[in-house]
Amino acid sequence: MQTQTSDPYAYGVVYKKNLGHYHVHTNSQVVLCSLSAKLWKDFEYSGGKGGRKKRVTNTREKHMDPVAIGDRVRVQLADDQTGVILKVLPRQNKLTRQSAKPMPGAHAFEQVIAANLDQVVPVFAAANPEPRWHMLDRYLVAAEHHRLPVQIAITKFDLVHNTPAEAALLTAVDRYRQIGYPVTLTSANAQLGLDELREIITDKTSVLVGKSGVGKTSLLNAIEPDLGLRVKEVNQTTGKGRHTTTHLEMFPLAAGGAIIDTPGVREFGLYGLTPDEVAECFPEMRPLLGQCRFGHSCRHEEEPGCAIRQAVMDGTISPYRYKSYLRLKVDL
């Protein structure tokens, strides 16, 4: 995870951040770092017309962060276990989302959730709160956009086991398995599917994403009991999570690898995607692109001779996934 260099400089990995401070794991120590002024000054982000690069010029844009969890950074060390991040090394990949807009019509920025990942683990509860498959499709599209492998985890499976809701859940799960996404059914309370998931995340850097209350941190506690992270029950009145986890943090796994726990999100906007690119992020649609009557110009909505619509009619593509595709295009 880290390489060595001569003092007073070191290379390390950012594993935790809060309120402008970054916890960097270097060779043999943990260093509490801040950002160098030059890093801020040189920080560019994609914005403006045509995706033109801009620089942070005012305080309104300061909520953007040039450093993400998982970033490999160059640090200047001080004597008191602190340091300054001088440079962020080029990222292999990243998982991003669109920042919340302060007002309708405002420009949305890119929020990097984590960088240098091996896989994304979208976490959904079988019940309480109910799974929202369109939200899962958003995570899948974001991961496909960044060429990241996906491992879907369904938690709280014991709540629907041997109930009428189980059949509906398994139907939806099969839909994703047929596309090629691996799905693991787990339960932290019933100790179900944990060994399978532990095997999948070992020796890899994974990130858990999902809405509040689905059991991301509980799943992490079940996989690594020594962590003892804080968890809470969902609100019994609203059926929603209580946003117990409030910061991003990477945890090393005893068996090797690392996993990043994230706070639950209410919405997950796609960043950097155009409506024309969305179909490429649906693996089942990818082989059909260009086979429509209008070729690559087809929008796959109402055009005659559309190969994707025909595949939906034939049953090759799930109508639920096609509907998700249309909704994602509208939301972009």
Binding site: E301, E302, I308, R309, Q310, V312, M313, P319, Y320, Y322, K323, L326, R327, V330
Partner: protein, 153 residues
């Protein structure tokens, strides 16, 4: 901004005749406006249940006749139920039965009694539907205008 999925509760332009159609309940008299009141054509957008918008066909659904809705074994027989419009997709041939709205063209609905053909009744799905014929003219007039009490039952 109007979105694709707002169509369910939004106004639309008829794909067949090009008329602008208001979907407001106070205009149409129904909660879910699903066909053009001028030409009675509809669109094939629902797959498993009304309003799911899961169908990728999106073909034009042409009105092929009338039937009556029954509480038990609906659409099969008996003439006491609500008057309903039968649509068939011109692209994939699927049948659909829809409520008649208050502002539908009554003359066109009356004319639709003559549209029913024997050809479509060969279809497996259509055999469950009892299409009204000219013999049921009195019933249709009663339902539309309240002019005459039907003698058939």
């Amino acid at each position: 901004m109007q979105t694709y999925f707002d169509d369910f509760n939004a106004d639309f332009t008829c794909k067949h005749c090009g008329h602008y159609v208001s979907a407001r309940t106070e205009v149409s008299g129904v909660v879910n406006r699903n066909h053009c009141p001028y030409c009675l054509h509809s669109r094939h957008v629902d797959l498993f249940e009304p309003g799911d918008r899961l169908c990728a066909c999106k073909g034009v659904m042409a009105p092929i006749g009338l039937t009556v809705k029954r509480s038990r074994d609906k659409y099969a027989s008996g003439l006491r139920g609500e008057l309903m419009l039968v649509h068939r997709c011109t692209a994939c041939g699927v049948f659909s039965i829809n409520r008649i709205a208050a502002d539908d063209d009554a003359v066109r609905i009356l004319n639709s009694l003559r549209w029913g053909s024997d050809e479509i009744m060969d279809h497996r799905q259509a055999r469950k539907i009892r299409l009204l014929t000219n013999a049921d003219l009195a019933l249709v007039e009663f339902r539309l205008y309240g002019l005459q009490v039907p003698t058939t039952s």
